[in-house]
């Protein structure tokens, strides 16, 4: 979004591959990226997770987490009513404390986008600074098992309905069978489907579904592939597969984003999604972002939490910091 109107695939991708983009050239490139040592990566994540964030730092962290949340409902049972309730919560996370910041976005299925747009009303960002974005999952989420035409139609529908952000899934089957070119081409095509009639683009988040990629080496390659193909964000998971987001996986993706930035000057976002439920866990992610890519990434256009139950835990912690007392689940609203 902040880079609206740029070329579809990043111009640098062709230069980096030094030739046409094919399965073979992509494999050569991705295989040339240094491997990941699982033990070392997990150790580093654990070390980062042991930072002790107290008092003023904690207060700042809690507010920042709220600003970075994609408040999400992705259920077969979703209804307009549920989405309206979620949107109201996004606007006013804590009815007892109006100083609480708003979340970054609401994240819903494509057919729910109109209800979210309507419910947010004046609070909807509509592509501008401030305000709340509407994010839609698309491309036959969560499995991605549909024809390209269906995926593109799914995407275009959501964008037409007013989605500011598209959370697409990569074809994990194609990736695991080595058809990197297909994965790449799909991301490029979906990016094009994010184009609005005025020529601007909805923000594209590329979900790797790291729980299905299984190895850290795969996660690193898929991250590079998604960035090469033009994703604005790389996102860990759909939330429908276990394991979803983990700190080591997120650290690894942040390392890729850092390396990409050093290489090209471009800033790509990261979104861990699924399984982050407590403030304590979310703070570990903030620390990991700040110490890996830098504090600058702790902004909604560069880092998000995909979460539903996280918000209420943050609100409870925030109330504790303000009042000095723990309240309980009855003092935050369900959405």
């Amino acid at each position: 979004m902040h880079d609206a109107g740029k070329e579809l695939a990043r111009p640098t991708a062709l230069e980096m591959l030094d030739g046409p983009i094919t399965d073979a050239s992509l494999r050569r490139y991705l295989d040339g990226i240094p491997g990941v040592d699982a033990v070392g990566l997990e150790q580093r994540a654990a070390d980062l997770g042991s930072r002790s964030i107290k008092t003023t730092s904690k207060a700042w962290a809690l507010d920042t987490i709220i600003r970075l949340i994609d408040l999400t409902t992705l259920e077969g049972a979703d209804t307009p009513g549920k989405v309206r309730s979620l949107s109201a919560k996004a606007v006013t996370p804590d009815a007892s404390d109006r100083s609480t910041p708003q979340v970054a976005a609401v994240c819903v299925y494509g057919d729910m986008v109109p209800y979210a747009v309507e419910a947010l009303g004046a609070h909807h960002s509509v592509g501008g600074e401030g305000g709340i974005n509407v994010a839609a999952v698309a491309t036959a989420f969560p499995s991605g098992r549909a024809s390209l035409a269906v995926k593109l139609a799914d995407t275009a529908d959501a964008v037409d309905a007013g989605a500011d952000e598209i959370d697409m899934v990569i074809d994990r089957g194609a990736f695991l069978s080595g058809r990197y070119g297909q994965v790449y081409d799909e991301i490029v095509a979906v990016k094009e489907a994010c184009r609005r009639s005025d020529g601007s683009y909805a923000h594209l988040k590329v979900i790797l579904e790291t729980g299905e990629l299984n190895t850290y080496d795969n996660v690193r390659r898929a991250s590079w592939l998604s960035i090469l193909a033009g994703g604005d964000f790389i996102k860990t998971s759909t939330g429908k597969v276990s394991p979803a987001a983990t700190l080591p996986v997120t650290l690894l993706m942040l390392q890729v984003v850092r390396d990409w930035h050093l290489l090209t000057g471009e800033k790509v976002g990261v979104k861990p999604a699924g399984g982050i439920r407590s403030s304590k866990d979310a703070i570990k992610y903030l620390v990991t972002v700040a110490e890996t890519v830098g504090e600058e990434w702790l902004q909604p256009h560069l880092f998000r939490f995909g979460a539903s139950s996280l918000l209420n835990d943050v609100l409870l912690q925030r109330q504790k910091l303000t009042t000095g007392q723990y309240s309980g689940a009855d003092y935050v609203t369900i959405d």
Binding site: G35, D37, G40, R44, R51, I53, K54, K58, E295, L298
Partner: protein, 539 residues
């Protein structure tokens, strides 16, 4: 305020219950030392912590006698399973008092609380648990049936891991049935003295462990004392040499764990982010006060620039400061003396032409501090590539082929540890096979486990600590008499100790020796002491 300026998160010192003054721990009690005493300070603030006793030769003699008495009357005759029970109890008490021990260690040593809390103290407990399990299984230690304990062990430990080195020494010694006189380092006696309180709490029989504090003279008195049967030392190679000379020609057994100048070898196919972490961990862990620190980085020339760039970026996020703050990564240098040495060697590195770099970080005004530092463009002949600096200073060298990496890695008088970073398993094995170092880490660094033996080649010492090997350092086979100090057990015929004496000149006991340390009647003969013959033969 930036988020990365994390608000202070200091560990509270209220958990400590320190005395103003600590005596020597002899025969299960704290007693006054006869020496002048000295103060132990916090290297981070130079503030006084407590007054510590100095053990004179007479005090050391008392301690050795107490240990001998405990050995003869209690510990050598106790069943292995009962010894094990005491060790398990000690391990549990260490865990119960973990926070207190961690805070005391960081206060006295200057190491970050996250390390004392997450590494030192848990490993201390692990060491006691591990060797507690061995106490009743000595028949399976690889020395045949009924291996024998040696007697009284005199142990001298360094200041870099005060409590952990204590555990490395005491746990196997006690499991094998020996008693102990231990001398902690002069700058870091605090946790050993709290450990003495733990021994009281555990109701360990009096005299089984004795702790004598003091400086070099106390250590020398202990090592030279004729009443000890085994010397275990961790520290500098210079002192290790002195010890080897002192005990040469005696029947004392010895293990020396000395200095190091480890090569950390990074190949071009290494997992690069983890390798950078490993480099940081290898040299900045515990302010580089680690004998097995990866102080020589050998990086393949083709990735040198990238690795250095990443390393610098990573080093810029290191948090140097208050050791008791839970977010501190690099703490204080342990003493002014050590700081002076690090400064002198670093200045020399610069003078010899290497390029010096440190991240911008503010150092506290009081206390002893040194910025994490790397030197690039280091040649193999530079002082900083050869001498152990024992501080947060990394020397970076390059290599072109595995053969060159191996040659450069081995080109040191030391041989304690090494690291290899590569994604290729076969290369790791092939290179490891050719490195002359006691411990080789593959795609990790500074990992310790009680079941793994640890020790050096060449000037890094001899003998192994940890694992079954470490047990062997405190045991003799039932049949062997070579180093049997007479007093081992009344049931063993005194003649068994003869071979040791045979190598000595024919005269009987050296008259210069103080009287035998064993006043107890249980001694079969005073032949023990005669083994300290004035024979200069090396071990």
């Amino acid at each position: 305020m930036s988020f990365l300026d994390y608000a202070p998160a200091p560990e509270s010192t209220s958990v400590l219950n320190l005395k103003k003054q600590y005596g020597l721990f002899i025969n299960g009690e704290f007693v006054d030392g006869r020496g002048d005493g000295f103060a132990t300070i916090s290297p981070a603030t130079e503030k006084h912590i407590a007054q510590i006793a100095t053990a004179t030769d007479a005090d050391v003699d008392d301690a050795v006698r107490a240990a001998r008495r405990a050995y003869d009357t209690v510990w050598s005759t106790m069943s292995g399973s009962d010894r094990g029970k005491y060790l398990f109890r000690i391990a549990r008490l260490v865990q119960e008092r973990a926070r207190e021990l961690a805070v005391a260690e960081s206060l006295d040593n200057g190491k970050p609380i996250k390390e004392s809390r997450d590494v030192d103290v848990p490993l201390v407990a692990a060491w006691f648990f591990y060797y507690a399990g061995w106490a009743d299984k000595l028949d399976h230690a690889g020395l045949g049936a009924n291996p024998r304990s040696l007697g009284v062990a005199g142990q001298v430990i360094p200041w870099n891991f005060p409590l952990l080195m204590l555990a490395w020494k005491i746990a196997p010694a006690l499991a094998a049935g020996n008693t102990v006189v231990l001398k902690p380092a002069e700058t870091t006696p605090l946790t050993a003295l709290i450990f003495a309180e733990i021994l009281q709490q555990a109701e360990l029989p009096a005299g089984v462990v004795n702790i004598v504090t003091g400086a070099g003279a106390t250590g020398r008195a202990l090592v030279a004392h004729p009443g000890i049967d085994k010397v275990a030392f961790t520290g500098s190679t210079a002192v290790g040499r002195e010890i080897a000379r002192t005990i040469a020609g005696t029947s004392k057994r010895v293990t020396l764990e000395l200095g190091g100048k480890a090569a950390n070898i990074v190949f071009d196919d290494a997992p690069i982010d983890e390798a950078v972490e490993g480099i940081v961990n290898g040299i900045f862990f515990n302010q580089g006060h680690v004998c097995c620190a990866g102080s020589r980085l050998l990086v393949q020339e083709s990735i040198h620039d990238e690795v250095i760039e990443r390393l610098k970026r990573r080093m810029s996020t290191l948090r140097v400061g208050d050791p008791l703050d839970k977010n501190t990564d690099v703490g204080a240098i342990n003493s002014r003396e050590q700081l002076d040495r690090i400064r002198a060697l670093s200045d020399q590195g610069e003078a010899e032409g290497a390029e010096r770099w440190s991240p911008d970080c503010e150092l506290p005004t009081d206390g002893f501090w040194f910025k994490p530092t790397i030197f690039t463009g280091v040649s193999t002949s530079d002082t900083i590539a050869r001498e152990e600096i024992f501080g947060p200073v990394l020397s970076v060298l390059t290599f072109r082929t595995p053969a060159e990496a191996i040659a450069k890695a081995n080109n040191t008088p030391y041989g304690l540890s090494a690291g290899i970073w590569s994604d290729k398993g076969s290369r790791i094995l092939a290179v490891a096979d050719k490195l002359r170092a006691g411990v080789i880490w593959a795609n990790t660094f500074n990992k310790f486990d009680p079941s793994s033996p640890f020790g050096g080649y060449k000037e890094s010492g001899y003998g192994r600590e940890g694992g079954k090997h470490g047990l062997g350092a405190y045991l003799a086979t039932a049949a062997s008499g070579t180093s049997l100090p007479s007093s081992i057990a009344p049931s063993v015929p005194a003649e068994l100790s003869a071979p040791a004496e045979l190598s000595a000149p024919a005269e009987p006991a050296t008259p210069a020796e103080p009287t035998a340390a064993e006043p107890t009647a249980a001694e079969p003969a005073s032949t023990t002491e005669t083994t300290t013959a004035p024979n200069g033969a090396a071990e």
